[in-house]
């Protein structure tokens, strides 16, 4: 009986168990080759074979080749399903294991790290809200396919009308001074996922989709680079105008950006100062050494090592100081021609930060990006992913209402994200967020899901931190990267955004709006009394 060793790890301790059908398996080896986590291996087992040929045949034994799951935490199956995808006969698939003890066993070498979103799925506030003001008798519905829709949102510091440098000449107003740069872009920004977190191909696919949407579809989306810079050729191309450059606490990539400035043909669409991230507030960016490939070292100007951005910007002492130093210097860097915005993790203090920025006397904060707890990340401690952060919906609303209370709404555009599109329906989420006060939304995770990422909020894959991404999206391994087709990936994003655009119109049209209904909370109702009270929208039952 002592042959059972209690402390040994068994397959049943892991989150995923391999369901293998040897009778269907042709032993082609595709699954083993496809598994980037080396979670399965070929193995020989001694089997008793029942012969059906004769009734009295002697017992026969064989030692067939089978596929066996490794019973190792470091090679645990993550449920990505690449084995199933590659198997020509449907002989193998991962199955979720309800009895797993992974969380108890996996901390042997320290905290659990992973990527993706929080797995402790909380009910989505946005799903408790519906567009409830579709009357037709009072507000005529528009035709989403025939009317003209102004699908644009501001990025940049908006001046109060009374302070605009306008002079009356005859019956016209003429401009008599400078104003902060404001650009009107599509109300969606492809959020900041760096080259490094993403493979070059994945990043390229998103950049390609961005350019295609702008130049072929008339949808002026912008893409944020993420921390870590971008290829020199892009910095020096006209397409830079679609890109928002991010500066985060590690300042990775900025050496190259600054050196490229004299050769830039176009201004970037904006600069985003990343203070924090909704998925792991308080943590700086984390790029494990496994992903710091030579080209990443080149772009960022670093050796091969784990790149851990500090939790805080070095120059950040207070909000006022951040405005005075960081906003001002980044505005100055591009001659005040480029909006400079700031991104913070949603927090109990977001309203204070927003209030402070709204009172900035220099008027140089061109956007407040708030990122909620349901956002994704390329790598984080699981304890941060699961247990830190703040839901985005009420925080967005709080910020908007704080501005309304002072009559300052719209002056610093609010962009919100962190779980937008989590259910796959980004347009509905966006519409609701906009009605609650967002000028636009930021999306990230859904983009890589469109590229083929199979990670989800139920513990599937989420191995973005390992460098072994089975879809070639979050890895720098050249063999894995080739699994992703750049053009097909870009096409998926373009197709989704075209549908998104049509769906957003489809929500705007019945409430009778052809321009963004920012703050139109009267268009929403909820069946949840607490949500109604918190957000100040109509309760319905």
């Amino acid at each position: 009986m002592e042959s059972v060793k209690t402390q040994d790890v068994s397959v049943n301790d892991l989150c995923w168990k391999i369901d293998y059908r040897p009778d269907l398996c042709t032993r082609c080896g595709s699954c083993v080759a496809a598994c980037t986590f080396a979670a399965i291996e070929p193995s020989r087992v001694r089997r008793h074979i029942q012969s059906h040929k004769t009734l009295n045949s002697a017992q026969e034994y064989a030692v067939p080749l089978v596929i066996k799951q490794k019973t190792s935490i470091s090679h645990a199956c993550v449920g990505c399903g690449m084995c199933e995808k590659s198997c020509p006969t449907g002989a193998i698939r991962p199955v979720r294991n309800m009895d797993q003890r992974f969380a108890l066993l996996a901390r042997e070498h320290g905290p659990i790290k992973r990527g993706g979103r929080s797995n402790l799925t909380m009910p989505r506030t946005l799903d408790a809200i519906v567009v409830g003001r579709i009357s037709q008798m009072t507000d005529p519905a528009l035709d989403s396919e025939r009317h003209t829709f102004d699908m644009r949102s501001p990025l940049g510091r908006v001046m109060p009308a009374g302070d605009l440098p306008l002079r009356v000449e005859g019956t016209s107003l003429v401009l008599a001074g400078q104003t902060p740069r404001v650009t009107w872009i599509y109300p969606v920004i492809f959020s900041d996922m760096s080259i490094g977190a993403l493979s070059t191909r994945a990043w390229e696919a998103i950049a390609l989709a961005t350019a295609y949407l702008n130049e072929k579809c008339g949808i002026p989306v912008r893409m944020c680079s993420g921390e870590g810079g971008m290829p020199g050729k892009l910095l020096e191309s006209a397409q830079l105008k679609y890109m928002i450059l991010q500066i985060a606490s590690g300042h990775f990539g900025w050496n190259r950006i600054i050196r490229a400035m004299p050769r830039m043909k176009a201004d970037p669409a904006g600069v985003l100062i990343k203070i924090g991230q909704g998925a792991k507030p308080g943590d700086g960016g984390l790029l494990p050494a496994a992903k710091v490939a030579p080209h990443i070292q080149a772009i960022r100007g670093v050796p091969r090592t784990t790149l851990h951005s500090p939790p805080n910007h070095q120059g950040l002492y207070s909000i006022e100081e951040s405005v005075q130093k960081m906003h001002l210097s980044l505005n100055a860097a591009f001659g005040f021609r480029v909006p400079v915005a700031i991104k913070c993790a949603a927090s109990a203090t977001s309203v204070s930060v927003y209030n402070n920025l709204l009172r900035d006397p220099y008027r140089i904060c061109g956007g407040f990006f708030i990122d909620g707890i349901q956002g994704g990340t390329g790598a984080a401690n699981e304890v941060s992913l699961e247990h830190t952060g703040h839901p985005i919906v009420s925080k967005l609303r709080d910020c908007y209402q704080a501005a309304v209370a002072q009559g300052l709404q719209g002056q610093i555009p609010l962009w919100a994200g962190g779980g937008v599109g989590l259910s796959g329906n980004a347009a509905a989420d966006a519409f609701k967020m906009i009605c609650l006060g967002a000028n636009g939304i930021i999306i990230g995770k859904i983009l890589i899901q469109l590229l083929g990422c199979v990670g989800n909020e139920h513990g599937r894959c989420n191995a973005c931190n390992t460098g072994k991404c089975p879809t070639g999206i979050c890895t720098q391994d050249p063999r894995l990267v080739k699994r992703m087709d750049v053009d097909r990936g870009a096409q998926s994003i373009v197709d989704y955004m075209l549908a998104f655009d049509a769906e957003l119109r489809k929500l705007m049209a019945p409430v009778g709006n052809s321009s963004m209904p920012v703050g139109r909370s009267d268009a929403l109702v909820t069946t949840d009394r607490a949500v109604a009270d918190k957000l100040g929208i109509q309760y319905a039952c």
């Binding site: 528009l142 003209t148 644009r152 605009l164 003429v174 709404q409 719209g410 321009s515 703050g519």
Partner: protein, 368 residues
């Protein structure tokens, strides 16, 4: 749908003309009230054109409250017109006990003050009276401004006219400008304050339709000016936007149209004044209207203006002859009071158009 109308005439006209403009447009149960603002008054008010005229409807207690307040503030009453109402049975009218139309002289200390100070005093006085009367539901104050009279009541418009003897044409109540509506806000509570036209500091607005950006408009306006109060009707925001653009920002009138119905981005970008239009749209995005509305406005200088929403989802038509220009939601109203006009001259303003009628009845058409 509300029907709205306005008359601008070189000769003073009585309210019956406005009623005749409106009643043919009435349909179904669309008859819940009558409201009008008269400007450039003749008749009993002709000698007091520079004296602020208080228009209110209230209870006897309300009258006392107003008397005390005005006396305390130093206003001196110089004239009063009390309508001789017809209390015949059967009239569908929810009459208030008292109607007050009084001209006051400014308090002594305002005699030599700047016009702006006087204007602010009149606004603040109206707001204070409104709050005073609202406390115990003692009445409604509609306007307090020189040469401007407001009458609003709930009921059948024709019966209201009978009650106030507006059909009599006795020359006691006439004006060169009348803005009028024959319907209360039947979608929401029927409250006198919700009835168009609305008035603030010489600006009058009447609008029909549904302002789908009412919440956005209201939330911004509430912080823009102390006089932007009430919001009993979603059309009130159009008055406040007009006042804000013309009175507070002191922009030319055409920019009202740019604010409420900005040009599509792609078009604005191509224009020589694209930068100015972009700035206006950015800064006043929350004053945009984005639903069906037709608007009639009367400005302090006597100019009358009409325009509509960016998709022309609500109708409006302007008709004229030598001595009168009239604006109405429907042409049948014009046919009733201007039967001999040249209908080929009628103007149906399109979605980009603003029509302005000057005091000499010259009609200007301006395209956005």
């Amino acid at each position: 749908m509300c029907r709205i109308g306005a008359i601008k005439s070189s000769m003073p006209v009585s309210p019956s003309v406005a009623l005749n403009l409106m009643l043919p447009q009435q349909e179904g149960h669309d008859n819940s009230g009558f409201a009008m603002i008269m400007q450039d008054l003749e008749g009993v008010f002709s000698h007091y054109k520079d004296k602020p005229l208080l228009s209110l409807a209230c209870t006897p207690q309300g009258v006392q409250l107003v008397n005390d307040f005005m006396e305390k503030k130093g206003f001196v009453q110089v004239a009063q017109w009390v309508p001789d109402v017809d209390r015949q049975p059967g009239l569908k009218v929810e009459a208030m006990p008292r109607y007050v139309f009084r001209n006051y002289d400014y308090p002594e200390i305002y005699r030599y003050r700047m016009q702006q100070d006087r204007d602010d005093l009149l606004l603040d006085t109206r707001l204070a009276l409104r709050a005073l009367l609202a406390k115990n539901n003692d009445g409604f104050v509609y306007s307090f401004w020189p040469d401007t009279l407001t009458l609003k009541e709930i009921g059948d418009p024709a019966d209201i006219a009978t009650y106030f003897r507006l059909w009599n044409d006795d020359e006691r109540l006439t004006a060169k400008n009348i803005v009028v509506q024959c319907r209360q806000n039947t979608n929401y509570d029927i409250v006198r304050y919700a009835a168009h036209p609305f008035f603030i500091q010489g600006y009058t607005v009447c609008a029909n339709g549904e302002n789908t950006f009412f919440t956005r408009n209201k939330e911004l306006q509430s912080a823009l000016h102390r006089g932007y109060v009430g919001f009993e009707s979603d059309s009130q925001t159009l008055l406040y936007t007009l006042h804000y653009v013309l009175h507070e920002l002191e922009w030319p009138v055409k920019y009202f149209k740019h604010v409420i119905t900005p040009l599509p981005f792609t078009e604005a970008e191509q224009r020589a004044d694209g930068k100015v239009l972009a700035l206006i749209r950015e800064s006043l995005a929350h004053l945009e209207i984005n639903g069906p509305n037709a608007i009639i406005a009367l400005l302090p200088d006597g100019n009358m203006m009409t325009c509509c929403d960016s998709k022309k989802l609500r109708p409006v038509v302007v008709g004229r002859h030598k001595h009168m220009v009239a604006i109405a939601s429907e042409v049948c109203g014009l046919n009733a009071i201007l039967p001999d006009r040249d209908v080929a001259e009628d103007i149906y303003p399109h979605e980009r158009e603003m029509v302005i009628i000057g005091n000499d009845l010259a009609v200007q058409r301006w395209n956005q």
